[in-house]
């Protein structure tokens, strides 16, 4: 059965959201037999993809539906256990592809927590009331402030290496040294000590921010939450996020209001169409507030987000996605202009931050993206980012110069990639003048010839060549090794420096995905295979 990424607090099985003025509590209480599959038991608040889909939904809704919330306390609904991390039997019995996609999604969810803290002023406190192991500690590290109960036994730990022969792959290693600045030799000790570290040493080493005894724990959490909420901006009122579930056609196509995914599974290809708005869109702050989640800028990107997730998880064999933006280019530019003009309005700000997240999700999707711009194309502003995120842009050199693209403020800093650069900066790495030249054209329609001249276009076939050139390019791409393409694209898409967010995917996930294939983890004698089995793992000692 296809995995759905759409949920609602009314339907959560594992999380509970409660509100008290500026503070919200996000309570993890995993139902052991409520997993996505029934061949594993989610013991000790361990999670599977279903648990994380709810978390991602909650973090998103907190931003849009509850902007009055300034601090979110992540805590456990179970005694003496915060979270034991990703469920090991679930991982052990999952395919490689699923493991990779699972880790990617959970990583994006942790990043969305940090994004909420940074861009929405919603701070996160992790209230660690007990065992906080592996993915549980990684979740905690995504928060701004960690309080660990000091009861002589509760510890934070990353036992993956010593216990499972894999990595703490949900950003754990990276956040330890890059975010929390734990000294790297101590991090080395910590990551190889399966029982973890508790009490005062956990504070001294910077693994947590504070400890509190059981009798004062709730009080300490409340104080920390109040301190973090202080000074936050008053925002709101919130808007309800309307459902966006697509209609699924007989052929399996996904039909949303503005997005449509057409599958050609045999060709291992999908066409993803995103439509520019036809209805009038809000221009003032009041109109933006009133339009809520049905305005194009939010709705279309929520749909795009869902489409990307479905392609990743439910259509593993689709290796190539053709991106098409259709409709009125000027309408897209007008929406961008309105959002940027009202950036001070909380919702405009949220929408821009959301678009940026969805675009980063695209950057990190292990599929080839070819953007096609021909007659009726609308790659302007925020939609041009799709083309810039793509691995190639094919643009029709039409005789009457109707085909055009255009830049808006959204191409010039509002939609950073995970390593902090804009897509234009990454595209013209080392050539600031190319970016400057493009920036000057903001708002202007750029014909194919102009766009090509400015370096935006990969190939610009004319009307006679277009069909064949495009067809051959697609067929050729779809025939190449999917593994090599994934590695190649991930390497070529991110010219420029590393940043912690990008490092999580480029280093940690990449290594993790390698380890996930290695006999020492998943072979018949591997540590992940043998976890919970009556006998112990046997390693192959070759270092490579």
């Amino acid at each position: 059965m296809a995995t759905s990424f759409q949920t609602h607090p009314d339907r959560y099985r594992h999380w509970k959201l409660t509100f008290d003025g500026e503070r919200a509590d996000l309570v993890l209480d995993v139902q052991p037999f409520g997993g996505l599959r029934d061949d594993y038991e989610l013991k000790l608040n361990s999670y599977d993809l279903g648990v994380d889909i709810e978390l991602a939904d909650a973090v998103q809704r907190l931003r849009f539906e509850h902007p009055e919330v300034k601090v979110v306390v992540v805590k456990s609904g179970q005694q003496r256990v915060f979270c034991a991390g990703a469920n090991i039997p679930m991982l052990g019995s999952s395919s490689h592809a699923f493991k990779v996609n699972f880790c990617k999604f959970t990583n994006e969810t942790r990043l969305s927590i940090e994004d909420a803290s940074k861009h929405s002023g919603q701070k996160y406190v992790a209230a660690l009331n007990g065992t906080c192991a592996g993915g549980g500690y990684e979740l905690a590290m995504a928060c701004d402030h960690l309080i660990l109960i000091d009861d002589g036994s509760s510890a934070v730990s990353l036992p993956e290496v010593p216990l499972l022969g894999v990595l703490p792959g949900t950003g754990g290693l990276t956040r330890l040294v890059d975010k929390r600045k734990v000294r790297r030799d101590r991090a080395d000790v910590f990551c190889t000590t399966s029982e973890g570290i508790r009490g005062k040493r956990a504070v001294t080493w910077g693994l947590v921010d504070a400890i509190a005894p059981r009798s004062k724990f709730d009080e300490a959490v409340a104080e920390a939450a109040a301190a973090l909420a202080k000074g936050g901006r008053d925002k709101g009122p919130g808007i309800a996020l309307e459902p966006i579930e697509p209609e699924v056609t007989e052929g399996g196509d996904l039909v949303y209001r503005y997005v449509r995914v057409e599958l050609a599974e045999q060709a291992r290809t999908a066409v993803l169409r995103i439509r520019a708005p036809e209805e009038p869109q809000p221009t003032s702050a009041d109109e933006i507030q009133a339009a809520g989640s049905s305005q194009w800028s939010l709705r279309a990107f929520r749909e795009l987000d869902d489409a990307l997730l479905q392609l990743r998880v439910n259509h593993l064999d689709v290796g190539l996605v053709v991106l098409r933006a259709e409709g009125d280019l000027d309408a897209v530019l007008a929406v961008d202009a309105a959002l940027h003009a009202n950036r001070d309005h909380w919702l405009a700000n949220e929408i821009l931050a959301h678009q940026a997240r969805v675009l980063r999700r695209l950057d990190l999707t292990a599929k080839s993206f070819f953007a096609l711009a021909d007659r009726g194309t609308a790659f302007g502003g925020v939609l041009l980012e799709l083309a810039l995120a793509a691995d190639r842009l094919y643009m029709l050199a039409d005789d009457d110069e109707e085909v055009a693209v255009a830049l808006s403020a959204s191409n010039l800093g509002a939609m950073p990639m995970s390593h902090g650069l804009t897509r234009l900066e990454a595209r013209f790495a080392g050539d600031a003048s190319a970016v400057e030249a493009l920036a000057k054209t903001k708002g202007e329609r750029l014909t194919t010839a102009e766009a090509d001249e400015l370096g935006l276009v990969t190939v610009a076939p004319d009307e006679i060549d277009w069909d064949d050139d495009v067809r051959i390019a697609l067929e050729e791409r779809a025939s190449l090794s999917p593994d090599a393409l994934t590695g190649m694209e991930a390497s070529l898409r991110f010219p420029g420096p590393e940043a912690p967010d990008a490092k999580i995917f480029a280093r940690l996930s990449a290594w993790q995905n390698w380890i996930f294939q290695r006999p020492n983890a998943v072979g018949p004698e591997g540590a992940l295979t043998k976890y919970g089995a009556p006998d112990r793992p046997t390693f192959q000692w070759t270092r490579c």
């Binding site: 002589g152 005894p213 919970g532």
Partner: protein, 488 residues
């Protein structure tokens, strides 16, 4: 630095104020082990402070007729004398070993037994030792107030004997931590003195050791059922391929048997007295005669047994498999009882509760070793219950005590969350609640039992609710003044 001091020599100022080598009886060559000496010098004062703060409340100045182990041979390990508890000589003993020993089970079978901690097993070995060690001071804390309501001087002495020996077991485990685990070990040793039974902030590790033991029937049930878990855990550890652990636990077992004796005979004496009082009463009501009636005893058995079976850990456990595979924890009497010491490939047929009904399921044997040990335990408890029933029968009373099924009243493991009756049949939560007061001690029951707990400190006298023991301690009569009180 002087390496040896006798009482007559002048102690140079650079030496610790008390000579550890003299005050700690041992067979681990403590006198020449600088590492161990350094660690114990720091730890011992903290231990004594803990003992005064958390040990038996109000009896520290009294002279108790206690058994002290001063050597490992039969003549040395049980010497009796009057001693104030804070002056008790907590010693460090390892059962002596002849020749070279091998790991005799698990994946490392046939290798030379470890004399040092193998690096790759450091974490799990330390966890095994700390978990065992934590129970020792915990029970002393739990029993701290019981001296004030002892039914006789004989029983008061038994309590203190158990307490000081639990203290020595703590020493035995702390010795291992200090000797073999470096700085981590020293920190864990400190932690053992910092946690407190029942404390909300610093509880003891295992839940049973945070329960109240505030009446003497509970004390007897504790030493009968909870200490008996200790016996089986220690026995499994005495098979360990880490030789110092095997030898330390083996010696602890010799002392532990007295604790089990105290519990088993203690319950038996309460049972016997219940029967006698039943017969005295025109309505056959032991309570009317100021005794503890058999149905009340049954409830205590139900509570303490169900609490103690939790201590064996999850029915299906990867930890259990790891402990065995690594050669750190064997089965009960692994060497003597089993032919195949790999336990690989075999399965254990286990009763599981799935989809609302009981079912049989095959579990790889190594993953079921907690349950295998629990089987041994349950059989041993059943033997004791048969003995008690024999006493009842001899009194001509037509009642039988019974162990509840191991599924009854569980909060951990595969039966947790579901409800079962005393026979182990699945029932609803409502049915369980409807029977709760019939199966488990109620507040009224506890109040009643506590109301009987008045001290009897006169030599040769005993409280009304319990029968006198068949014989005294160390060939002495029951009437001996086992505790000589300091002027109050």
């Amino acid at each position: 630095m002087s390496t040896h001091t006798t009482a007559n020599e002048v102690i140079p100022l650079s030496c610790p104020p008390m000579s550890l080598t003299d005050s700690i009886p041992n067979n681990v060559d403590l006198g020449s082990d600088k590492k161990l000496l350094r660690a114990l010098e720091k730890w011992q004062p903290n231990f004594l402070e803990w003992w005064k703060e958390m040990g038996p409340d109000g009896f520290q100045e009294d002279l108790i007729y206690l058994r002290t182990a001063i050597d490992v041979d039969p003549a040395g390990w049980a010497t009796y004398d009057y001693v104030k508890m804070p002056d008790y000589r907590w010693g460090i003993f390892l059962t002596p070993r002849e020749g070279e020993r091998q790991v005799h089970f698990g994946d490392e079978q046939g290798q030379k037994a470890w004399e040092e901690v193998p690096g790759e097993l450091r974490g799990i070995l330390r966890r095994i030792i700390v978990t065992q060690a934590d129970t020792e001071p915990a029970s002393v804390e739990q029993q701290r107030q019981l001296g004030k309501t002892a039914p006789s001087l004989y029983d008061l002495r038994s309590l203190f004997q158990v307490n000081v020996e639990e203290g020595r077991h703590l020493w035995a485990m702390v010795h291992l931590l200090h000797q073999y685990f470096g700085r981590d070990g020293r920190e864990e040793a400190e932690g053992l003195l910092e946690r407190r039974s029942g404390d909300a902030d610093k509880p003891r590790i295992l839940q049973t050791f945070n329960e109240k033991t505030d009446d003497w029937l509970s004390f007897f049930c504790f030493t009968m059922f909870t200490d008996r878990d200790g016996k089986f855990q220690l026995a499994a550890l005495s098979e360990s391929g880490f030789d110092p652990l095997a030898r330390a636990t083996q010696f602890m077992l010799t002392e532990e048997s007295f604790h089990l004796f105290t519990g088993e005979t203690g319950v038996e004496r309460v049972v016997q007295r219940a029967c006698e009082l039943m017969k005295q009463d025109p309505n056959g009501d032991a309570r009317a005669q100021g005794g503890i009636d058999l149905p009340t005893i049954q409830k205590w058995i139900n509570f303490w047994f169900s609490s103690a079976v939790e201590l064996f850990g999850g029915e299906i456990s990867s930890n259990a498999a790891d402990y065995f595979a690594t050669g750190l924890k064997g089965r009960y009497r692994e060497a003597a009882k089993y032919q195949d010491h790999q336990a690989l490939g075999d399965v254990y047929e286990m009763t599981v509760f799935e989809g609302g009904k009981l079912d049989r399921r095959e579990v790889p044997l190594r993953n079921a070793l907690n349950e295998v040990l629990r089987d041994e335990y349950v059989a041993d408890c059943e033997r004791a219950v048969r003995k008690w029933n024999h006493v009842i029968k001899k009194q001509g009373v037509d009642v039988e005590l019974k162990l509840p099924n191991r599924r009854f009243n569980r909060s951990m493991g595969i039966y947790a969350g579901a409800h079962f009756d005393l026979e182990g049949r699945p029932i609803t939560a409502e049915q369980f609640e409807a029977h709760r007061s019939e199966w488990l001690p109620t507040r009224e029951d506890r109040d009643y039992v506590r109301s009987l707990m008045v001290p009897v400190y006169e030599p040769g006298k005993i409280a009304n609710w319990i029968a006198a023991p068949k014989k005294g301690v160390n060939g002495q009569p029951f009437e001996l003044e086992y505790v000589k009180f300091a002027p109050r």
